[in-house]
C-alpha cells in the first residue's frame, strides 16, 4: 500500500504543495485532476525523487521512500515527453531497466519480447527513436517502465502531446496492460474524461491542496470538477436539437 501524508513544499515563500496526503491500494490507479500550475508535476517529482519535499512522508508497504535515492525506489516517472534514449533502439530502450539490473540475457530477451508484443510494436524493434511516431514513442516509454515491474508508475499527462485519436488508443492500451501487469499508478491530468476513464480512485489538486474523493460518484458530483455542468450543457443541447 502506498501512503503519502503531510507532504509540503514551497519555493521561497510561495507554497506549492500544502499537506498532501492520500492512500492508494496496490493495483489501483488514482487519477488526480488539476490545472497546469496547480503543483501536480511537483508532487510527482517529489514522489519520484527528483525533488525534495520540505516535510511529510511517503511509504510503500511501510518502507520509507523519501530518503531513498530515486534509482532504488522503483517508482517510475513518465512524463508527457517520452524521453527515449536517442542513441538506443526500441529494443534497447525497453530492455534498459532490465539490463542495469543485470538480469540474465535469456530472461531479458524474453521479457522484452513479451512487452514488444503486448504494445504492438514488435516490427519497430530495431528502429531508433527518431524514426517513430509520437504514439509509438509513448508506447516504448510505457514498455520501458512496465517491463521492470515497478511498485508505482507516476504518469504526468502521459498522453498530452498526442492527437485525440492516438490518445484514445493509448488510454485503452494502458488500461489493458495495467490490468495485465497488476500496475499501481498515479495519473495526473487536466482532462476530466481521461481521469474518469483511467482512474479507480479520484482526487483533485487545486492550488497545492489535494482533495481525495471517497468514490467515483463523489468525484462526478463535486461541482469544482465541472462534470455536472458539462453534462448539463450536452443535455441542453440535445434537448434543443430534439425539439
Amino acid at each position: 500500500m502506498i501512503k503519502v501524508s503531510n507532504i509540503s513544499k514551497s519555493y521561497g515563500k510561495e507554497p506549492v504543495l500544502k499537506n498532501i496526503g492520500f492512500e492508494l491500494l496496490e493495483q489501483h490507479t488514482m487519477s488526480i485532476l488539476g490545472k497546469s500550475g496547480c503543483g501536480k508535476t511537483t508532487l510527482l517529482k517529489i514522489l519520484a525523487g527528483l525533488e525534495n519535499s520540505d516535510s511529510g512522508s511517503f511509504t510503500i508497504d511501510g518502507s520509507d521512500m523519501l530518503h531513498m535515492p530515486p534509482q532504488r525506489r522503483e517508482v517510475v516517472y513518465l512524463s508527457q515527453e517520452p524521453l527515449l534514449f536517442p542513441h538506443m533502439t526500441v529494443e534497447q530502450n525497453i530492455g534498459y531497466g532490465l539490463r542495469i539490473r543485470k538480469i540474465s540475457q535469456n530472461e531479458l530477451v524474453e521479457k522484452v519480447e513479451v512487452m514488444l508484443n503486448e504494445l504492438g510494436i514488435s516490427e519497430h524493434r530495431n528502429k531508433m527513436p527518431d524514426q517513430l511516431s509520437g504514439g509509438q514513442k509513448q508506447r516504448v516509454a510505457f514498455g520501458r517502465a512496465l517491463v521492470i515491474n515497478p511498485k508505482v508508475i507516476l504518469l504526468d499527462e502521459p498522453f498530452g502531446s498526442l492527437d485525440a485519436h492516438t490518445r484514445e488508443d493509448m488510454q485503452t492500451l494502458f488500461l489493458k496492460i495495467a490490468e495485465l501487469h497488476h500496475i499501481t499508478a498515479l495519473l495526473v491530468t487536466h482532462d476530466v474524461k481521461e481521469a474518469l476513464i483511467m482512474g479507480r480512485k479520484f482526487a483533485r489538486l487545486d492550488a497545492g491542496a489535494l482533495t481525495v474523493y471517497p468514490d467515483k460518484k463523489a468525484f462526478i458530483a463535486a461541482p469544482e470538477n465541472g462534470i455536472k455542468k458539462e453534462v448539463g450543457f450536452w443535455n441542453e443541447l440535445m434537448k434543443e436539437h430534439e425539439q
Partner: protein
C-alpha cells in the same frame, strides 16, 4: 541568375586565396619584385623544414602537445563544471562569469596576469603557457557545454534514474553517449583556440615556449615570408584535413551553436 551565380563563385575564389597564397609563398624563394617565381618552384623551404634545419618541426611538436593537453583538460573541466552549474538556481548568472575571461583579449589578459605568473615562477615555461591558455579556454568550454545541459537532457537523466540506473550508470550509459558529438566538437574547438593562440603565449612564454604561431611570427619579423609560409601551412593543413573529413560533424556543430 548569372550575375548572382558569379557573385557566389567570386566569393568562393576569394575565400580560397589566403590558403593558396601561403602555399605559393612556401614554394618560392628569391622573391624579388616583380618576379612571381624565380625560375622554377622550389622545395627548399620545405626540405629544410622537414629535415629539421630550422625550429619549425620542433614547434609543431610543441604546439601539438600544448593544444592537445589544453583541449583535453578544458573539455573535461568545462563539461563537469557546466553540468554542476546547470543544476543551480541561477545558472545563467553563474555562467556569465565565464564570459569575462573568455571575451577579454587574451593578450590583455596576459598583461593583467603576467605579474602573478612571474610571482609563481610560471612565466617562460610550458606549464605557464598551458595554465594561461586554460584560464580562458575553460570558461569557453563551460559556456559551450552549458548549451548541452538542457531540460531534455536533465529529464532523460532523471528518467534513467527513475528506471533504476545508478549515478555512474547514467553517466556512462546515457550522458556520455548523448554528449559524444558535443564532446568531440568541443574538444576540436578548444584545440583550435589553443592552436591559434599567439598573444598570451608570447607574453607568458617570454618567447621561450615557441609554439607554431610564435615561430611563424618570428619568421615574419625576419621578413622571411617563405619559412613563415611553411610554418603557416603546417598550422592550417592539419586542421583543414581534419575538417574536410569531419565536415558533416562540423555542420552539425553549427546547429548546436545556433541551438
Amino acid at each position: 541568375m548569372g550575375i548572382k551565380g558569379k557573385f557566389i563563385n567570386t566569393t568562393s575564389i576569394i575565400l580560397l586565396l589566403p590558403i593558396f597564397g601561403i602555399m605559393y609563398l612556401s614554394f618560392v624563394s628569391q622573391w624579388n619584385y616583380p618576379r612571381l617565381f624565380r625560375d622554377v618552384w622550389t622545395g627548399v623551404n620545405w626540405v629544410s623544414t622537414l629535415s629539421g634545419q630550422n625550429n619549425i618541426m620542433k614547434s609543431l611538436g610543441l604546439s601539438l602537445f600544448i593544444s592537445s593537453f589544453v583541449a583535453l583538460t578544458t573539455t573535461s573541466t568545462g563539461f563537469v563544471l557546466s553540468r554542476q552549474l546547470s543544476q543551480l538556481k541561477k545558472a545563467n548568472v553563474w555562467l556569465s562569469l565565464s564570459y569575462f575571461p573568455y571575451l577579454i583579449a587574451p593578450v590583455v589578459l596576459g598583461v593583467m596576469l603576467q605579474f602573478y605568473f612571474i610571482k609563481f615562477g610560471l612565466n617562460g615555461s610550458v606549464v605557464g603557457v598551458l595554465l594561461a591558455q586554460m584560464l580562458f579556454i575553460t570558461p569557453y568550454s563551460t559556456i559551450f557545454f552549458s548549451a548541452f545541459w538542457n531540460k531534455t537532457i536533465h529529464d532523460t537523466v532523471f528518467q534513467a534514474h527513475s528506471l533504476g540506473a545508478s549515478g555512474r550508470q547514467v553517466y556512462w550509459q546515457i550522458v556520455l553517449p548523448l554528449a559524444k558529438p558535443w564532446i568531440f566538437i568541443g574538444m576540436f574547438q578548444c584545440f583550435l583556440i589553443s592552436w591559434f593562440e599567439y598573444g598570451i603565449t608570447q607574453l607568458i612564454g617570454v618567447g621561450k615556449v615557441a609554439t607554431l604561431t610564435i615561430t611563424t611570427m618570428q619568421w615574419v619579423k625576419e621578413a622571411n615570408p617563405h619559412l613563415a609560409a611553411v610554418s603557416a601551412c603546417l598550422m592550417v593543413v592539419p586542421t583543414l584535413i581534419l575538417l574536410l573529413i569531419n565536415q558533416r560533424i562540423f555542420l552539425k556543430q553549427k546547429d548546436l551553436e545556433t541551438a
